[in-house]
Symmetry: C2
Subunit: 252 residues, 2 copies
Amino acid sequence: MANFGIILQYDGSRYNGWQRQGNTPDTIQEKLESILERLYGEPIDLNGSGRTDAGVHALHQVANYRIPRILSRYSCQEIQDYFNAYLPADIRVLSVQKVEERFHARLNATGKLYEYRIDCGEIARVFDRKYLYRVNEPLNLPRMQEAAEYLTGTHDFRSFCSNRQMKKSTVRTIYSIDFDLSDGILSIRYHGDGFLQHMVRILTGTLIEIGSGDMLPSQIPLILEGRDRSLAGFTAPPQALFLVDVYYDTDH
Amino acid sequence: MANFGIILQYDGSRYNGWQRQGNTPDTIQEKLESILERLYGEPIDLNGSGRTDAGVHALHQVANYRIPRILSRYSCQEIQDYFNAYLPADIRVLSVQKVEERFHARLNATGKLYEYRIDCGEIARVFDRKYLYRVNEPLNLPRMQEAAEYLTGTHDFRSFCSNRQMKKSTVRTIYSIDFDLSDGILSIRYHGDGFLQHMVRILTGTLIEIGSGDMLPSQIPLILEGRDRSLAGFTAPPQALFLVDVYYDTDH
């Protein structure tokens, strides 16, 4: 089999997330797969590194697909150009590369970096408003950083997962949570080995509630121990969340 | 009379330009004036530094309004907060200041800076695509710069004006045309004493035709001399044009 690795970028605003799902239209995976089917003349499965929710964006998403070598008649540049000719302007393929046959974008991913962008400037931003979450009350950044320290490390994040019937392990490791405040935009970057459904958005909602004084940093250990979604903060809206990078142990 | 100077920013995407016009709805001037009327309880005329076309944006637009001192019961901060509370998210008032009684945003303006943003990178941009004009063919920047030198200075720009019945002078001075290419985005900045209807967009369309090889820099003097709109290039679309600054000789 020939195996192709794809790096892509998308504005998730008008999509029902990454993942193709039964009769839900407008997923990003489906857009890409329909172009691959047109190119090769048969249905092809594309593996994404992970789902992104409806409305969530990706600066750098990774995917791969395998095809029998006999069907592999296009160069990487031809495949990329074909994608970009037929994709809508809110999805772009940044690169296509041949990768090792065993590479799988989801199974081999060892870490991800997400960024959540909060507009907390004195005057709300005009031009990137659709990619920001506006918070009007002042946010206490040192308290948010204190809370982030409790969240960093290996924990059971069941309280930060929207799927109440989650049967698999809800233990994840957050390597770091970094804050950058510049020009009125507070960016929170979450680097972890993987994230549960809505986890980054619930972490962000909780950090915002701590920043605005509705919750205390010292509540974090109790929220983690409680393993109950209702203990954590609100789910911050999707339009300000970006998948920024996906990490693999080996180059591919 | 009390005179207030306003600095504002707007995303022009969904507006029919700055200027209130008979029964054309959705102008930026009208949005602002309706809020002033609500604040003061009577109709108030707002003078903009100049019109921007439908779909054109402003990073820094200047306007002023005068009211009898007896009606002037709000502080600058109160006026700004009132605007930002009632304006849609695509218009923001950046500042309100008391200015000299004789200050007039349009009549006293001595110069303007416009920027046109062209996406000519290898892969079209995803997130700011609505504020860019995408050009697929390669652009020859030195030729565009050579053409810009012919355009700089005091000329009759009738060939670069969309209003064929223009009765007033079409002589304007362009102080500078600067090019900045970074990260696949070519920004062209036009600094002049004033611009005719669609002038910046026709200048840009002409420079793009020169960059792509459809016209030659040496045609510029002939286009200027011909005083005929049909000699110049196409009118570049509005969504990539920004009013960046307005200049006044005196501080106000």
